[in-house]
Symmetry: C2
Subunit: 395 residues, 2 copies
Amino acid sequence: MSIFRFAAGFRSSAGRCGLKASGNPDLSLLVADGVCTAAGVFTTSLVKAAPVLYDQAVLAAHASEIRAVIANAGCANACTGAQGVAAAREMARLAAVAVGCEPHQVLVLSTGVIGHQLNVEKVAKGVAAIAPELGVEHAPALAEAIMTTDTRSKTASANAVIDGVVVTVAGVAKGAGMIHPMMATMLSIVTTDVAIDADLAQSLLREVSDASFNCVTVDGDPSTNDTLLLLASGASGVTINASNIASFRQALEAVCIDLAKQIAADGEGATKLVTVTVDHAPSVAAARTVARKIACSPLVKTAIHGGDPNWGRILAAAGVAGVPFDPSQVELWLGSVQLVAGGTPTDYSEREAASQMSGKHVAIRLKLGAGAATGYAWTCDFSAEYVRINADYRT
Amino acid sequence: MSIFRFAAGFRSSAGRCGLKASGNPDLSLLVADGVCTAAGVFTTSLVKAAPVLYDQAVLAAHASEIRAVIANAGCANACTGAQGVAAAREMARLAAVAVGCEPHQVLVLSTGVIGHQLNVEKVAKGVAAIAPELGVEHAPALAEAIMTTDTRSKTASANAVIDGVVVTVAGVAKGAGMIHPMMATMLSIVTTDVAIDADLAQSLLREVSDASFNCVTVDGDPSTNDTLLLLASGASGVTINASNIASFRQALEAVCIDLAKQIAADGEGATKLVTVTVDHAPSVAAARTVARKIACSPLVKTAIHGGDPNWGRILAAAGVAGVPFDPSQVELWLGSVQLVAGGTPTDYSEREAASQMSGKHVAIRLKLGAGAATGYAWTCDFSAEYVRINADYRT
C-alpha cells in the first residue's frame, strides 16, 4: 500500500500537546493552500459537543471560505457549556493566527472524554509547535493524532477521471467506541482536489454519509461529537457539476465506505468485521434499518464472537426493527450457507455454518421477501475485551 | 421470607422432561380449580413464537374459560413454522387431557433456544409424569422449571383488602437474556383470587405491564416469546369493579414491578441492579423512553460495571432518545451525589461519586427540566460474563 496523502492543495501537521494522559499525539492541523469549500454532517444528538455547535455555525455562513481544520483528541469538549464553546472558538482563533486567516475560516474537531473542560493553554502551546511543520508528508501522522481507543489509524483514498483529469478523494477517520452515527460519524475529514459548490457538496456529503458511515455501529451509542467534514481545494482544476458528479460521487462513496468499514473492524475489543446485508426489502431505508437493528444486537454480536451460528437471534432482532415483513417468507444466509428458508431452518450442517464465522470477516444476508431494495450495516463482534475497555475507560 | 404460593384457586406441578440438556426441571403445569378469567400481553415482535400465536388466538375467543397453563423451558418453539404451531397445539391438548378440560382452555408458554423444533414426545411423557402431582406446594418448583439462564427463580406476591376481604396477587417470572420487552416481557404468570371481567383484566394488565416489565432491559433485544399472563380464579369471592379497581391495580403493579426488578437484577452476567429515574419530563412515556435509552447503553452499563462515574455517557444516551429537552437545563444525580447542574459538571468529588456505584444497587436520576412527569427503567450492569454466557449459549 502506498503512503497516505491528502488530496492536492492540502498540507498537515500533528504532534503532542498533553491532552492524552498516555502522551500520545493528540493535536493536528489540516491547512488548505488557498480558500476551499467545505461541507459537514454532524451528530443528530440533542447533546452536541461545543466544536459541533461551532462548526455548524461556521459552515452556515462561511462554507466557501474555509482554510483549516484543527483537531484534538483526549477531550471531547462536550457537556462543557458556555466555557466549552469559548474553548472551541479559542482553538479556531489559535489556528487562524498560525495559518494567517480569519477564525471563521477554521473548523474544529474534538474527541475524547465527555464532561471535562478543554485545557486551552495546552492547545496554544501545541499549535505553536506544530504549525511551522506543515507538509504533505504528515498526513499519516494526522490520522494517528485523532485516535482515541482506536488500535490503528484509518485512511482511504480513491481516484476518478473527470473531464480527462485524474482527481483524488482522500480521507481519514477515527472510531472505536460510542459508534452508532446518526446522520454522521465519529470524526472523519475527507479532502478532494475538485472544486464544488458548497450546497452541492453538502447535499452530496449527506447522501454519501447515509450509505457509508451511517451504516456502521459498534455499540449502538451515537456520540456527542460525530462529525464528517469534506474539504474541496479545487487544485485539480476540475469543477463538479451535474454532468460529472456521478464519477465524483462514486469516488467519495468508495472512500467513505472504506473508512466506515475500518471503523467497524476496529471497534473496541473487536476481532471480526461483520457485514449485514438485507435485501428484497421494500426500500433502501427499510433495508438499512433492519440491517442496523441486527448489527446492534448484543446477542447477535456475542454469538459471532463465540463462533456460534445462533441465527434465531438474527431473526429476533429483525422482527423488532419496525419494518413490516412476513416472517414466513424470510431467507437467511451465513456466508455461503443458507440457514433459513420460508422462515424455518433448512437442514444445514452446524459444523459448516460455524465454519462461516471462523475468519476475520463474517457475512450475514437476510432476504426479507418484501421488495427489491438492498441495504448494509457494518459492525464488529462483541467481546469481553469491549467490557474491559469500557469499564476502565477513564481510570 | 415466607414460602411462595399462587393465589387461592390454583395448583401446580413441575418436573423434568429432557428438553434441557442440563437435565434441570423444564416442564410445568398451572391448573385452576375451576374456570378462570385470563389476560395476556405479548411480544410486539413481527417474529412471534408459536405459543404466542396460539395464546393470542385462545385469549381472543376464550379469555373467560381458561383452566390451565402448560410451560416448557429449553426450546422456545420460535421460527418453527407450521410444525411449531402444531406442536404448541399438541402441548395444549396434552395438558387438557391431563386436566380434564378442552384444549382451548389451556395457554402455552415456551422459552429456550430459537429455531429448534419442539420434541412433543418428551412433553407428552413429562405431562403424564407431573399431572398427577398437582398441589399448592409446588409453586416454587414451577418458578424454577421456567428458568433458562436465570441464576435464581423469581416470585412475588402482594395483598390488598378489597370490600373487607384480603385478596392475593401472586406471580412468577423468568428473564436473564434477550430482555427488552416491547409491550410485554419474557415469561411471567401472575395469579389472583379476585374475579374480574376479561376485558377489564386485559386493559389493566396492559397498563401495568407498561409500568413494570416494559421498563426492564437487559440487552436491548426483545424476544420472540415475551408473554405476561394474568389468571383470576375468583376464589376470594371478591369481584373487581370500577369502585375497587385502584386497590387491586396497586397490588398487581407491586407484584409486576417486584418481578421486573428481579429480572433486571438477574440479567445475564449481572452484578448490580440499576434503577434509572427520569423526572421533570414532558410525559410519562417520554420519561420512560429516555430512561430506557440510558438503561440500554452498553457504554453506561460497562461504566457501572467498572464503578466509573462516567456520566457523559448518560447524557450522550439521553440526547439520542428522540425526546426533546434543553441540554443546558438538565441535572444528573448518581445516588445522592449531583454530578451535573445546568448541563455542565458540578464540582463533585470523583471518589464520592464512585462510592455511589460500589453496592448492589445503583441509582441514576436525570432531571430533564422540561415538564412534570416521571418514568423509570431497570437494568443491570454489563460484564464480561455476559459476553461469555452469550458467546457459548448453545455450545
